[in-house]
Each structure stands twice: as structure tokens, then as C-alpha cells.
Amino acid sequence: MKQKISYQERVFQTVNALVFLALGLTTLLPFVNLLAKSFSSESAVLAGRVGLWPEGFQLGTYQYVLTEPQFRQSFVNSILVTLCGTALAMVLTCMVAYPLSRGWLRGRRLLILLFVFVMLFNGGMVPTYLLINGMHMLNTYWALILPSAFSVYNMILLKNFFEELPESVEESARLDGAGNMTILLKIILPMSLPAIATIGLFYAVGYWNNYMGGVLYITDPQYKPLQQYLYELVTESQRIQEGMITGDYNMDRDSMNATPDAIRAATIMLSSVPIMLVYPFLQKYFVKGLVIGSVKG
């Protein structure tokens, strides 16, 4: 790869880097704005005077959110559910994706169709609720973990990655007498680290962002997941804000508990930063050449 870089390529590199700089700014700036709001005074946020730097800097908002019992409880819930759920889901998904990725498995097509069918059809909210209720899992962490512990979509992605792996390595291992489990654990998984990282990220983000689980299966606030807390906080303040203008709401019930915009911004920041930190951490598995290197080594 030590060839001389042509003029054309240098132009391409520069333009490419600049285009991504521009694109990156469009996605980064709104986040910086949200961050600045969370450190700004309420008046400045309300009047829309906050740009990329806090106006009327204060830390009270974070102090408030971090001492809010429901936020802390929900935060812990979501971390717990995300960790356990992702681990369980990865095991299940690998166990299904591997057999279905082998072209020689009899009945493979039918089996895949069996999985694809449930990706597209479902029985709806009532029977699923009754199932969870019947298993006595309402108001438990299980209700948040189990129903989404396997995603057909992710399984198909992983299966596709497995299919792309060079078969030669597997064949030679098989000739050495290795069984399916050995091949999966010692060869397939180490060779598919980028894929495993991707699917793991999808599951983790899925669990972290899961909000319907709380809506359907939780009434005890102790188990409320973070996204439901966040959603309800935002809905509540929007509803009150809306009501103040249209007059169509019961002031007595809400007693003016509209959540200030700065608190909303801080809550959004605090709830999205942990999961966003996962990706840079996973990026070391996305290095090109890792696949072959791991096998050779």
C-alpha cells in the first residue's frame, strides 16, 4: 500500500473529509445546543437565547435531576435491563443464527420462514399482555427483558454475516474433528467480532430505548424504565404548556408542575449519553483486517 498518492486522490480525500465535516456539524450542533440549554438559566432557555454556549450558566438543573428519586431509580433499572437483556439476547441469537447460516442444514428454508413470519405478524397487545400476566411477570425486570430477548431482524443480520465468512477455515477445522459447538465458539465467533459488536449494539440500544415494555407491563414506579420516565416527563410538560395556551386542561390537577425546558434538556442528555458511549468503545472491533488476522493468529 506504499504507492504514491496521486493528485486526484488527494483532492478526493480532502473533499471527502470536508463533506463529512459539514455533515458532522449538522448532527453535532443540535446536541451541543441541548447541552448548552441544560446548563443555562430558565429564562434564557425559554426566550430561545441559548445557542452553542450556556447563557446564565448554572448547575442547578443537573443537581435537581440527579437527586430526583424517580430518575435515579429508572436509570438503574435501564442499566440493569440493558446489561442482562443484551447478554441473554446475544446468546439466543447466536444459537439460532449459526445453524440457519449453514446452507447444508435440512429444512433450513422452512425454519427461516418460521422466524420471518413472526417478524411480520403478531397477535397484538392483548394476548401478549395476558401471557406476561399469566407468567406472573408483571412488575418485574423479566417483563422488560424477556419479550425482546430475541429479534428476528437481528438474527437475520447475524446469519448474513456468518454466511459471508470464508468456508475454508471451517472445513479444515471439521476435518480435524471439531464439532459444531467448537466451530461456533472457536472459529465463527472470533471471526465475526464486527458483526457481534454490531448486533450487540443493536440489542443494547434497543433495550435502552425500549419504552413500550414499561407501558405494557409495569405499574409499580419502582420498575419504570428510563425512557418511559423521560417520555412522560416531556409529555407532561408539553401537555401543560399546550393547555396553558388553549385553556383545555385542568389546572387544579396539574397544579402548574410544568417541567422547565432546562430540566428536560438535562434529562435528555443524561439519558442518552451512557448509551452513546457504547459505540466508541465498540469501534475497536470494527478494524479492517481483524477478521482474517484473528483466524491466522
Binding site: 430558565e42 429564562s43 434564557a44 425559554l46 426566550a47 430561545g48 437565547r49 430526583e68 428519586p69 424517580q70 431509580q73 397487545m125 392483548v126 399482555y129 395476558l130 400476566n133 408483571l138 414499561g214 407501558v215 405494557l216 409495569i218 405499574t219 409499580d220 414506579p221 419502582q222 419504570k224 418511559q228 420516565y229 417520555y231 412522560e232 416527563l233 409529555t235 407532561e236 408539553q238 404548556q241 399546550e242 393547555g243 396553558m244 395556551i245 388553549t246 385553556g247 383545555d248 386542561y249 385542568n250 389546572m251 387544579d252 390537577r253 397544579s255 402548574m256 408542575n257 410544568a258 417541567t259 425546558d261
Partner: protein, 532 residues
């Protein structure tokens, strides 16, 4: 707070007078109502101090299910306080904000156990219609304090035709929450007059636009109540003309209103983003000073004022009452929201703990307890200044902010006073509330005749039909639809359930004219306080 001192000297006397009057009128009207109801209520108000036999010490932890809240009620100050004061241990469960009705019906139909539920009126009506709720009549006799301490009118909304009472209603205070807010400082500076008629209002918008270039009027609602009034319209679902009930949509004033709003929109006299605005956009336009007027709740005034004063130190807001129509009437409509804030009810199958539940409900309505979780402890959370509980911050904000969540109903006698702690916590808030309510008392309020109504078709159709009308109004205002299509809109509205909706209202009206009279004879909660 100067105004407060001046005003509050009369407060206690005024309050007692008002409570006395209302109680009396409530009772006398009730005796002309259905027999079941009148006997119960008069019985209840007769003996408020009667003790019941249940002992809180024998009660298990009571499981309570309610509409959503963003906080955890179990860790609130009031939860611990109430356990201490009433002796009942309560475990609070919450419905989600989304899919709440589906979730509730799943919980109840699959027999999940809750001892008591605090629901929105819609949620209550859904369960009541399915026969899933326990009649409370006998328990109310056992715990007379519940009816004795609550607004007698509210009970009509939870009484079935059979006479079964299925819930304990919470009736809000009759007062004005919204009016057209305007920038007092700008009006003074440019010498604009406060408008009374539609023509004066139009001229005012033109003046603001030409003289300042600002947005004269912002907002996002299909029905702008101030302007609506100018065309002889109330913001209520039904009108009664010679005993015939019909939707407000049949009032010819609606067409005139829409034509007028469309004209304002086309001439750039109202916010060009009107159909797109969300609450936060309106908030922002008022806080930055980009807009001069909008429909304003006194509770949003302090935030706007403070934000504005950082750049315009002299900025302040006051309110304008609804415009006068061609008959010289101002349509001041208090409490345009839901009549009943919430309903406490018990699902069938929870009979076992019902005596404890009802005792708990009754205890929370007792004067001392009610004060403690709504206003707090004197000297700790508030100080009494001329009879008004004025909050001590930050203690009040820490402990009392969500206190009203724990109400089992509204104590008719104490609530107007304890509630004042919520407006007295902030001087700007208090002034805005005072300004709006004082001005409005110069006129007669027009009440919703169906305020205490209770019929199936309303619950079934109201939300979707209101949405339909709202959508059409917005399209006409923005010019996407022409006003010429009004007849075909009305026809599709009728087909989408409008006819059943009106028929249901008519039927209810025919069988309950006295409740309508009662609703129309409501009184502003703070009338006597303001010395009017």
C-alpha cells in the same frame, strides 16, 4: 403582594359566607333532583362527625392505581405524611401516559387486584359503562364525611340511572384560567386602547402590525376564545335553543368567526405559523417579545415576564376579557376543560378492603389532614397572612409540589383557601391571577350547561369529533379549505357520529333539566373574596 394584604382581610369571612351559600343552594336544588341522590346527600350533610367502625390497624397495605405521573408517589413527602395521619399504608401504582385506557381495561378485565383507583373521568366512564365498578352507596352512608365535605353537584356525574354511585368525584374551582394576554408596557408606550368589539380588535391588530412590525397575535388553537366570543359563541360543545340541544357548530357565528380568522391570517395580522405552532413556540414568541398578544394562562405569565425583563426591564403582561358580541355580551367561559378532575373508584372484586378504602378517602378529606398535605404545616411550609397560606420556600416547593396527587376528592370548604398557597408562592403569579379574575367578575360568567352531564355518547365521540372540527377550522383559517365547504364538513361530522352525539345530549337534557339549571347557576369560587 400589597394587593394581597388589602384583599385578604375579608378572606375568611368571605369564604365562610360563600361556602354557606353554596351548600345551601346545593342542597335545595338537590331535593328537586332524583330521589335517591337527594336523600343520600341530605343524610350525609346532616351527620359529618359520625365515627365508623373500621380500624386502620387491621387494614392491609392498600393497592392504589392512578393515571400517570412523572414522579414516584411512593417516595413523596405526602405519602409518608398521610400514612402517619390516617393510619393507612398505601402502595401507589401508575398507568402509563400512552395507551392508558387499553392498559387499564387489561388490568381490570384480567382480574388484577387493586383496592382503589384514582382515574380521569374518561377512564372512570369506560369502566362504569362496562359495569366493572363497585357501587359505593352503602359505604357512603357509613362514611358520611365524604359527601359532607365535597361539592354536592359533582355527585350527579357519577350516579347511574339505577341510582348506583360508582365513584367519588373531584370538582375543580370555578375561576378564570385563561384570557387574552397583552404586553402592558407596549400598550402604554404606543397608546393603544383595549378592544371591546371585533372591529376594534381588528383595528388594534392593524395598528400593532404597522407600528411595531411584531406579530400582533400568536397562538395555535382552532378556537381563539377571545375572538370566538365576539361572534356570540361559547367554547362549549352544546347550545340549547328552546329546549333543543345542538352542537355549537350549527351556530351561524362559527362561519363568521372562521371567515374573520382567515382574513386575519391572509392579511398577516396573526402568526403565519398559527397551524404549526406548538405550545413551546408560542411560549418562545411571547418570551422574546416577537409577539404582542396571545391567549394566556396566568400560570405562564411569570416565566414570560422574567425572561422578557432581562432584555426589556419594563415588560409586563395583563389580560383582556373576551370580545363583546353584537348583543353586547362577553362570553366568559370558566373551566373550559374537563368538569371533573378525577374520580376515586373501587373495582368489583375488591369488596373486602372497600370499608378501609372509603375510610381512607374520608380521612383525607378531613380539614386538618387536607391542610397538611395540600398546604403543609404552618410555620414550616407556609405562614398565614390574613388567612392566606403564603408558602415558605424552598420547603414548600420540596414537599408540597405534588401534594394534590394525593387528594381523594376536593374538600369543598377548605380547598379554595389551601389552593391559594399555589398562587401565593410567587408574586408575579399572584398578580396575574388576581388581575384576570378581578376584571372578569365585572361580568356574568356563562357556564357550560352540560358541566355535570354524564352520558355515553359524549365519552364515545367527544374526542374524535372535537379533533375533526379542530382540523377543519385550522384548514379554513390557513386557507387550505374554503368556508364554502362548511356544509359538507358539517355533513361528514354528522356521519362520523355527530348525530348520535347530539341525540345523546338531547336525551340527557330531556331527562335531567334540573342538573342543567344547577350547572348554569354556578358561582365563581372567589367572588366573595374579591368583594363582588
Amino acid at each position: 403582594m400589597r394587593k394581597m394584604k388589602r384583599l385578604m382581610a375579608m378572606l375568611l369571612a368571605g369564604m365562610l359566607m360563600m361556602a354557606g351559600c353554596s351548600g345551601e343552594s346545593g342542597e335545595s336544588s338537590l331535593s328537586s333532583a332524583g330521589e335517591t341522590q337527594s336523600s343520600q346527600v341530605s343524610q350525609a350533610s346532616g351527620s359529618s362527625a359520625e365515627s365508623t367502625e373500621v380500624n386502620p390497624a387491621d387494614a392491609p397495605t392498600l393497592k392504589w392505581l392512578s393515571y400517570y405521573a412523572s414522579f414516584d408517589p411512593n417516595s413523596e413527602y405526602a405519602a409518608g405524611l398521610l400514612e402517619e395521619l390516617t393510619g393507612y399504608k398505601v402502595e401507589y401504582h401508575l398507568l402509563p401516559s400512552e395507551n392508558a385506557e387499553q392498559r387499564l381495561s387489561l388490568e381490570i378485565s384480567s382480574g388484577n387486584h387493586y383496592d382503589v383507583m384514582k382515574l380521569t373521568y374518561t377512564q372512570y366512564a369506560m369502566l362504569a359503562g362496562q359495569g366493572a365498578l363497585l357501587p359505593l352507596n352503602s359505604y357512603l352512608d357509613e362514611n358520611p364525611g365524604i359527601q359532607a365535605n365535597t361539592d354536592p353537584k359533582g355527585w350527579y356525574t357519577v350516579t347511574q340511572q339505577s341510582g348506583d354511585i360508582l365513584g367519588v368525584p373531584e370538582v375543580g374551582l370555578v375561576q378564570l384560567f385563561n384570557a387574552l394576554g397583552f404586553r402592558k408596557d407596549l400598550f402604554d408606550q404606543y397608546g393603544w386602547e383595549l378592544p371591546n368589539t371585533v372591529d376594534e380588535f381588528y383595528q388594534l391588530l392593524v395598528d400593532i402590525k404597522t407600528e411595531t412590525g411584531k406579530i400582533p397575535l400568536t397562538g395555535n388553537q382552532a378556537i381563539q376564545p377571545t375572538v370566538f366570543s365576539g361572534f356570540g359563541l361559547d367554547t362549549y360543545a352544546f347550545e340549547i335553543n328552546d329546549g333543543k340541544v345542538q352542537s355549537y357548530l350549527r351556530n351561524p357565528g362559527v362561519r363568521e368567526y372562521l371567515t374573520f380568522m382567515n382574513k386575519l391570517y391572509n392579511e398577516g395580522l396573526i402568526d403565519p405559523d398559527w397551524p404549526v405552532n406548538k405550545g413551546e413556540n408560542v411560549d418562545q414568541k411571547m418570551s422574546t417579545g416577537d409577539a404582542v398578544m396571545t391567549n394566556m394562562s396566568w400560570s405562564s405569565t411569570p416565566n414570560w415576564t422574567r425572561a422578557l425583563q432581562e432584555t426589556v426591564p419594563e415588560a409586563s403582561f395583563e389580560s383582556i376579557l373576551p370580545l363583546t358580541d353584537s348583543n353586547g355580551v362577553k362570553h366568559i367561559n370558566p373551566n373550559s376543560g374537563t368538569a371533573i378532575g378525577s374520580v376515586m373508584c373501587i373495582p368489583k372484586g375488591a369488596e373486602e378492603n372497600a370499608p378501609y378504602v372509603m375510610d381512607m378517602i374520608e380521612k383525607r378529606l378531613e380539614k386538618d389532614v387536607y391542610w397538611q398535605f395540600n398546604a403543609g404545616t404552618e410555620g414550616v411550609h407556609y405562614n398565614l397572612e390574613d388567612g392566606v397560606p403564603v408558602p415558605i420556600q424552598p420547603k414548600y416547593a420540596e414537599d408540597m409540589t405534588n401534594g394534590n396527587y394525593f387528594q381523594t376528592s376536593v374538600n369543598y370548604f377548605e380547598h379554595p383557601i389551601t389552593w391559594m398557597s399555589r398562587v401565593a408562592k410567587d408574586e408575579l403569579l399572584y398578580d396575574a391571577w388576581y388581575d384576570m379574575n378581578l376584571k372578569s367578575l365585572d361580568y356574568d360568567y356563562i357556564y357550560d350547561p352540560f358541566f355535570f352531564s354524564n352520558f355515553e355518547e359524549y365519552e364515545k365521540y367527544n374526542a374524535s369529533l372535537s379533533q375533526k372540527a379542530n382540523d377543519y377550522f385550522m384548514q379554513v383559517i390557513a386557507g387550505t379549505e374554503s368556508i364554502d365547504s362548511y356544509d359538507s364538513f358539517l355533513e361528514s361530522w354528522e356521519q362520523a357520529g355527530g348525530l348520535e352525539y347530539e341525540a345523546g345530549a338531547q336525551e340527557w337534557y330531556d331527562s335531567n333539566p334540573e342538573i342543567i339549571e344547577l350547572a348554569l347557576a354556578s358561582e365563581p369560587a372567589y367572588k366573595s373574596v374579591f368583594g363582588k
